[in-house]
């Protein structure tokens, strides 16, 4: 079975992973998140500088963790988009260089397909059809998946403005909590009352697109509440109530997508899928609805190299055509298939 090297640099994480036949052999991850804290968000140039320093060391560490040799690699998969342009360029150039030097095919893949594929490494092959909720700092999408390597991917809905993770960062900031907002809100919300404040569930009216999201307005609603509040701010209650609104919004739409498309498996992936309240609510609602919920462990939910190796492994085993050596970075490419160029069958 072919050994696939996966490379990921679309945001602030430099990842490398090695997968063979659906099995993760080893991976390595470096993050520049600490360097972005004082800016309150990811600065592309800061991220790119860190990627350049970390790229080769991460590949070497992944190779050592996997107990293989680089010369054993049979194919290279790399995120060609979407992401921060200057960051994507580094992983893509590295992927091309490894493929050229090793004389093996290169697969330029879509970052979000990697998020969906990573669950294969922990929970085995995906069912024939499933709904995937991809929820992270950069993306919030509901997708209808068939054979991930071969079939076109159907976008049921996306966020029209901020991604869910972005809303966590912004709300954290207006509560005086540090960046990144996801983990800190998750922690502080445990001490608060999720029913204390009723924040809106955007895009849930009868005339709204059923699977689209909007988190910008929710963030503004929290900001207005905080500005109007007199006295000591009940930070834990605001955090818990905001988190509850996001969780309710995500769960309601994801379950509805499964029901409307007669799918019995929901895949929840992306960095925000690591949030404990969202996971708990989704499990509860899936159980009620008779839907099997698949969520990778938090380590694999956030950006990493293993997920790109995982989607590369699916493509190689399905016999997908390699990408052209002149492939370029596509920072805002829409997800149509696992290959960045779209479905190939």
């Amino acid at each position: 079975m072919p050994l696939v090297l996966g490379i990921e640099t679309s945001c602030d994480e430099t990842g490398a992973g090695l997968v063979r036949d659906g099995v993760l052999l080893g991976d390595a991850l470096a993050s520049s998140v600490d360097q972005h804290v004082r800016f309150g968000g990811v600065v592309p140039e800061v991220a790119a500088r860190a990627h350049l320093e970390a790229m080769v060391p991460m590949v070497e560490r992944a190779v050592q963790a996997a107990g293989v040799k680089l010369s054993d690699v049979d194919a290279v998969a790399v995120t060609a988009g979407p992401g921060l342009a200057t960051a994507v360029q580094i992983g893509l150039a590295a992927g091309k260089a490894y493929a050229t030097a090793l004389g093996v095919p290169l697969y330029g893949v879509h970052h979000l397909a990697g998020h969906a594929a990573v669950d294969v490494l922990e929970h085995g092959p995906l069912p024939e059809r499933c709904v995937a909720l991809i929820v992270s700092g950069g993306h919030t999408s509901i997708l209808l998946l068939g054979d991930l390597a071969r079939d076109p991917i159907v976008h049921l809905g996306d966020t029209v403005d901020d991604a869910a993770g972005e809303a966590f960062d912004k709300v954290a900031r207006l509560l005086g909590l540090p960046y990144p907002g996801g983990p800190v809100i998750d922690r502080i919300a445990k001490e608060g009352d999720p029913q204390a404040i009723h924040f809106p569930r955007p895009m849930s009216g009868p005339n709204d697109p059923p699977f689209a999201f909007s988190f910008s307005g929710l963030k503004t609603a929290v900001a207005r509440w905080v500005e109007r509040h007199e006295g000591t701010l009940p930070v834990a209650d605001v955090a818990a109530s905001f988190q509850e609104a996001v969780a309710d919004n995500l769960c309601t739409k994801a379950i509805r997508a499964c029901k409307e498309h007669h799918v019995d498996t929901l895949l929840m992936v992306g960095g925000v899928a690591a949030n404990s309240r969202i996971r708990a609510m989704m499990e509860e609602r899936c159980t009620e609805a008779g839907i099997t919920l698949r969520v990778p462990s938090p380590r694999l939910c956030t950006d990493n190299g293993a997920m790109i190796a995982a989607v590369g492994d699916l493509l190689v085993r399905a016999g997908a055509p390699p990408s052209a050596p002149t492939i370029g970075a596509e920072p805002s490419v829409v997800l149509r298939g696992a290959l960045i160029s779209g479905p190939w069958t």
């Binding site: 140039e45 500088r49 350049l52 090793l102």
Partner: protein, 213 residues
């Protein structure tokens, strides 16, 4: 001894194969396109190898221009060099791009490349040897202690000296010659660190604005 030479610090994406035994460039590819570094570089390397009838395994060292240069393109070259060096188990050596352009020139020259934002990356050279720089700044602010200027950046803004047509971009021979002592002595591999010469221009988060009217 086949050495791969790469430079992506200027709009000219450059890849070449240099035979250190013969002191000759055996294949090279260039394209002047400030937005094509990521697309072009690895294919250029493959084309050079094919033209020379060589395989990646035949490479003994990689030399890369470490800038100064616009960041995204520059990083493409450096990560390509380091990843190929890693994959092939061969050393990588860095050369200041301006030094490579100045290699073999006579007289006292300003060598300049485009730094964007109305600025130049530059150094002053006496018979090809750097006497000041590399620096970044506006053409009008450069102390004119040179008799002529060269490099593609020298044509962008008025300079008080004649501007030479040649050299314009980093030649494969220049980089190879500058790294030759290291290649010949099989010096330890180097981590290729870009000469950015500027800090990222991000500002720390300030107080947030209110949303209420």
């Amino acid at each position: 001894m086949l050495t791969l030479v790469i430079d992506t610090a200027t709009p000219c994406v450059t890849a070449g194969l240099y035979d250190t035994a013969d002191g000759k460039t055996v294949a090279s590819r260039t394209v002047v396109n400030p937005r094509a570094h990521g697309e072009s570089l690895s294919p250029f390397v493959a084309e050079c190898l094919s033209e020379a009838g060589a395989a990646p395994r035949d490479l003994k060292a990689i030399v890369a221009g470490v800038g100064p240069g616009p960041y995204t393109g520059l990083r493409v070259g450096l990560v390509t060099a380091m990843a190929m060096g890693h994959a092939l188990g061969i050393p990588t050596y860095g050369v200041c791009t301006l030094d490579g352009i100045a290699y073999g020139t006579r007289g006292r020259l300003l060598i300049a490349t485009d730094a964007r934002r109305k600025e130049l990356y530059y150094g002053v050279y006496a018979d090809g040897v750097r006497v000041s720089g590399p620096s970044v700044g506006r053409a009008a602010d450069i102390e004119p202690d040179f008799e002529a200027a060269a490099g593609a950046g020298a044509t962008l803004y008025p300079l008080p000296v004649p501007v030479l047509d040649d050299p314009l971009y980093p030649p494969v021979e220049g980089h190879a010659a500058l790294a030759l002592p290291r290649i010949s002595s099989a010096a330890p591999t180097e981590i290729l660190t870009p000469l950015y010469l500027r800090r990222p221009d991000a500002v720390p988060a300030s107080e947030r604005k209110t949303v209420s009217q």
